[in-house]
């Protein structure tokens, strides 16, 4: 594993009576592309602002390279931010915007000129030095905001939902660009988003947050394939989440039927959440010994169909490239390795997480 860069220790933040962050612990490594993912109000932006120095935690510490920087103001941190609304200086042109940081830190004009052309090259906007920032498109303004931050050679770049204002094509393009810039510069990226697709396609590490708690930290594959709880399973991708009971190791009871699975270590008779991805369910002709149901809804998405099947008293979501007709009788089949077993929340605190 790479070298540790930032350690967040026991950070708590409340706004009035609302606990926005509850004892957050998190480690960020050098040149990592980390995404804070969660629904709005989960505390991800607050955590980012605490790292940037724009908010003070009520308690807890931010350790940067072994030094406590909790009380260091934003202008003294080796961290730069790309703001959601870009926040470019409208009274300055592109060049002046990018030069803002280096000028403040007293760099020579030769150095600044070199840096500007390097930064503009990095974001593919060479020759835009004299352009007026307010005349640029959203995507171009976004790139200038990135150039303006990167030119200061920060150790960490914070990005607060920077792609949310762009249209779909541009957003896809910018995702690749951001990953490339992350690799080329060696800067650690901490990226905040509520878009799970963005998180999955860009990150080295995803931190799933909800209601001020970290739900899971892992690689994109990890959080998608092995969610630790029902919230993560539900938030990332589409899921069927069903109540189940463990019979014994590698055997779970769902909707009155017993299914083979691969999970072990759960005590027998314990209630669990069972997650099955819609693309992991196969449909077949009705069979005597299988879970049978009726198609109630079909939605065409281009690449696949969303098929809703009512079976065993549960509405199953299935994704398939084969069309089915509403009213058609089908049977549902599951592979053992596609059945993900998750512990039910036990305490009240944990139950809250599930909401």
């Amino acid at each position: 594993m790479k070298k540790e860069l930032i350690r967040i220790e026991n950070v708590v933040k409340t706004f009035g009576n609302l606990k926005v962050l509850d004892e957050i612990d998190l480690t960020i490594h050098e040149n990592e592309f980390m995404t804070l993912l969660g629904p709005s109000g989960c505390g991800k932006t607050t955590l980012l602002r605490i790292i940037g120095g724009f908010e003070m935690p009520d308690s807890g510490k931010i350790i940067f390279n072994g030094k406590d920087i909790t009380n260091v103001p934003p202008n003294k941190r080796p961290i730069n931010t790309v703001f959601q609304k870009y926040s470019l200086f409208s009274h300055m042109n592109v060049e002046e915007n990018i030069a803002f940081g280096p000028k403040i830190s007293g760099k020579s004009s030769d150095y600044i000129r070199d840096k500007i052309s390097y930064a503009l090259k990095l974001v593919n906007l060479e020759g835009y030095e004299k352009h007026n920032v307010t005349k640029l498109s959203g995507g171009q303004q976004q790139r200038i905001a990135i150039a303006r931050a990167i030119v200061n050679e920060p150790k960490v770049l914070l990005l607060d939902e920077p792609l949310s204002a762009l249209d779909l094509k541009l957003r896809r393009n910018m995702r690749q660009e951001l990953v490339r810039i992350n690799r080329e510069t060696g800067i650690t990226f901490i990226f905040v988003t509520h878009d799970q697709e963005e998180a999955l396609s860009m990150s080295d590490t995803i931190v799933v947050m909800n209601q001020g708690y970290i739900q899971q930290v892992g690689t994109p594959e990890n959080v998608y394939n092995e969610p630790e709880n029902a919230f993560v399973a539900d938030f990332i991708g589409d899921s069927n989440i069903i109540d189940g009971v463990i019979v014994r190791d590698k055997l779970v009871k769902i909707l009155g039927r017993e299914y083979d699975c691969v999970d072990t270590g759960f005590p027998p008779e314990s209630p669990v959440d069972v997650q099955i991805r819609p693309e992991d369910i196969t449909l077949d002709e009705p069979q005597e010994d299988a879970l049978n149901g009726v198609v109630t809804r079909v939605v065409f998405w281009g690449v696949f169909y969303d098929i809703t099947v009512s079976a065993g008293g549960f509405e199953w979501l299935i994704q398939s490239i084969h069309r089915r007709e509403v009213g058609e009788k089908v049977s549902l089949h599951l592979d053992p390795e596609n059945i993900q077993i998750m512990m039910k929340p036990q305490s009240e605190d944990e139950a809250k997480l599930k909401e």
Binding site: N80, L88, F89, H91
Partner: protein, 275 residues
């Protein structure tokens, strides 16, 4: 909005008539009187009168007092607006409303109120005597006139400045901090230039009425302290010399036009930056 150009012109007609009768015709009259003598012959003699000491010094005093008023208004309004934009919107709006309140009152009335405060046996001196402090003679001094003008014209500085400052997105300041600027650098490199258009319209809106005032200076400055506005008024109402009065008005207008050109140039350069 309007169906045809004809229709639109119809709606414009009253404004054209208004502008013709109340702006264009008086302006022509002033220029005519200012550039002719008693027998109606064209002359520049009336304009040359400004070189006379008494007229020249009134104009000079007017400009100085207008400048002082404008600068004090700016210095009072800027910190106030800076503090208010940081406050919650509702709090800011209420306080701004309080500052704008003098606008709702007649200028003459509020100036007369200042008169009773500044008089030899006025409220100010009564309070000072109560505290066994020496008297202050403010009435009929330039200070009294400046205080009266600041009181009346401060709202014209506060309003455009507050609007300009509250339009700046808060994240702009955070961006400056993020890029290494301390509080002072953030103010001088970001806040100040972004609020410049508001400051410029505030300066114009305070400087011009201060330069042309005659009511405030008549009430608080007495008969000895003659501003250019008072001189013009006297030429028309006491001396009945319309030619001289008009000529002085033309000179005053030239100064106002110079002021507006300067602010326009400033405004243009900031606007060009914005676009």
């Amino acid at each position: 909005m309007f169906r045809s150009i004809k229709m639109r012109n119809l709606f414009l007609a009253p404004f054209c008539v208004w502008a013709g009768i109340f702006i264009f015709v008086p302006l022509v009259c002033i220029i005519y009187y200012g550039l002719t003598d008693m027998s109606g012959n064209f002359t520049f003699d009336n304009l040359a009168i400004i070189s006379h000491r008494e007229y020249y010094s009134s104009l000079q005093l007017s400009i100085i007092l207008a400048l002082v008023t404008t600068i004090v208004c700016l210095l009072l309004a800027y910190p106030l607006c800076l503090i208010l934009v940081d406050k919650a919107k509702s709090v800011g709006t209420i306080i701004i409303l309080l500052f704008v309140l003098p606008l709702w009152m007649n200028t003459l009335l509020s100036t007369m109120a200042w008169q009773t405060i500044f008089e030899r046996d006025g409220i100010l001196n009564q309070v000072l005597r109560l505290l066994s402090l020496p008297d202050m003679t403010l009435i009929n001094t330039p200070t009294a006139v400046v205080i009266g003008m600041i009181y009346n014209y401060l709202p014209y500085m506060v309003l455009p400045l507050y609007v300009a400052l509250s339009k700046i997105d808060k994240s702009i300041f955070e961006a400056a901090r993020d890029l290494g600027a301390n509080s002072w650098q953030t103010f001088s490199k970001v806040t100040l230039p972004l609020s410049l258009p508001g400051a410029i319209s505030g300066i114009t809106m305070v400087f011009i009425p201060s330069l042309t005032t005659f009511a405030i200076s008549a009430l608080l400055g007495g008969s000895k302290l003659l501003l250019i506005g008072n001189v013009i008024e006297q030429e028309f109402t006491v001396e009945y010399d319309w030619h001289l009065g008009s000529a002085l008005s033309i000179i005053l207008m030239i100064f106002i036009i110079i002021n507006m050109v300067i602010t326009l140039v400033f405004d243009k350069s900031t606007k060009e930056d914005e676009n």
